[in-house]
């Protein structure tokens, strides 16, 4: 009896410890970024593009990277959604349970899910050379889209698979086609779809390796899809590698902005998701 109690206490302590580690690391990371980044954060940094010698301590801001990052993350999230949603509906509504096609698709995205993002960058780069494209906003969007499709499909697939088969039966027995049933399904899983988009967006906005070669780099705001574009992670990277201490400090400012953007999107998505789950069964 006593031994059981010790066992219980021991594992409880272990669980508390892991929880504390996670929460503490979160505050440590955010704390570091805030304390180092806040002093160098200014309106100028948010609202201006870098001047020529910005990376050597010159005037300017990182508006180009903020805009570039948002364009790439939003563009690729939208594009990935347009591709992922039909895949998920096809393998869950149109294919029979555990059909070889569905299993093959799932194996495929599981493999792609684990692929390092530099591989997508390299693949995107090869694709661009083949198509005769230059490093550009469009190139970055394509590379990031490829990167986040597996994330979206996997997350959505898991949500859709957890839907009870009664929902399908209810709709089918009213004489609905599979296409009509898919829309009922979407109503049920809307919050999950939203989470998937958010996850993919977060991954897309923070990734460096996939955009390094494909989006290029520019101090100017991209005016069209053919223009090269900078991204926030790239701005952090470039400034951190500067020999000037002041510029290094600004890297934390950029990291802080990136964190705030992700946080804002995360919070607003959560609120939207709550509203969407109103009718959920």
């Amino acid at each position: 009896m006593k031994w059981k109690k010790i066992e219980e206490q021991f594992f409880k302590a272990l669980m508390i410890l892991s929880t504390v580690v996670i929460v503490a690391s979160f505050f440590l990371i955010v704390g570091t970024i805030v304390s180092k980044g806040l002093p160098s954060l200014s309106w100028e940094m948010l609202s201006e593009i870098p001047t020529g010698d910005f990376y050597m301590g010159g005037e300017g801001g990182i508006l180009n990277s903020i805009v570039g990052s948002l364009y790439i993350a939003a563009g690729s999230s939208l594009l990935a959604l347009l591709i992922s949603l039909p895949i998920v509906i096809y393998i869950n509504v149109y294919l029979k349970k555990s059909s070889w096609m569905g299993n093959l698709t799932r194996l495929g995205y599981d493999v792609l899910f684990g692929m390092p993002s530099i591989v997508y960058g390299a693949f995107g780069f090869t694709l661009m050379i083949y198509l005769g494209m230059k490093a550009s906003l469009l190139g970055g969007i394509i590379a990031v889209t490829l990167l986040i499709i597996p994330i979206m499909v996997r997350t959505m697939d898991e949500v859709v698979r957890s839907v009870p088969k009664e929902l399908f039966e209810a709709s089918y027995s009213l004489g609905a086609t599979r296409y009509e049933t898919a829309f009922v399904l979407l109503k049920q899983v809307a919050p999950g779809i939203f989470t998937a988009i958010l996850l993919a967006f977060g991954r897309g906005i923070g990734d460096v390796a996939s955009v390094m070669f494909t989006a290029g780099f520019s101090n100017d705001l991209p005016q069209s899809l053919q223009d090269p574009a900078s991204t926030l992670p790239l701005a952090v990277f470039n400034q951190l590698s500067s020999p000037v201490e002041e510029v290094q400090a600004r890297a934390y400012g950029a990291a802080l902005i990136l964190t705030i953007v992700v946080l804002l999107i995360s919070i607003s998505a959560r609120m939207m998701s709550k509203r969407l789950s109103k009718n959920k069964i």
């Binding site: 929902l167 027995s173 009922v184 109503k187």
Partner: protein, 254 residues
Amino acid sequence: MTIATPHISVQNLNLYYGDHHTLKNINIDIPDKKVTSFIGPSGCGKTTLLKTFNRLHDSSLEVRVEGKVLLDGENIYDKNAEVTSIRKKMGLLSQRPFPLPMSIYDNIAYGPRIHGEKDRHKLDEIVERYLKDVALWPEVKDRLKSPASRLSIGQQQRLCLARGLAVEPEIILGDEPTSALDPKSTQKIEELFLELKEKYTIVLVTHILRQARRVSDYVAFVYNGEIVEFGPTEELLLHPKEKLTQDYVKGFFS
């Protein structure tokens, strides 16, 4: 037993679940505008049999169906049979009510909408009429726009019944439709079945013998994938001919 005007006629139906022979050579005629109950122990195949009537096994890869199910004389397993129009003829009530993820109003209007009804006034009428048919109207008429998931489970089951009726089926299939409900809601559903059999053919799966006796005109005893005995309710429950049926319904009296 022969039925003069069967609504559904099952002929030499065999169903395999992978290697498992789940339904064995089923032959049964479901009479028109009557309540027919399938009774039998869990896992005997009564729900599986019910689901063959509107081809709900279509989406599973492992299930293979052989034989015929004639609906008004037409085989629903025919190559050219149109599955959506077959299903439209049958309303399904499942064990747990499963409202669609929409408002109360939209749950009822969903069926008519997918079958082409767009007129708002007509939809309003349909919603009101079928909610009244299942005696849910007084309880929900002021909150038609609120999510169906907020209703109690008994109300949800009546909503599901109304949703099924709104596509104007000829047959109601009930798969233990009261198993998740409290006695009061169960009673309401049973009363509805007695009213509805004036207009609809009702096929019910139940493991409650008393329920079978209360609501049905005919009872079929299913055991181990076969129909052991089929006959009028009183006859089958009180004077079963087969030894197996006798053993099963004994639990009903003792």
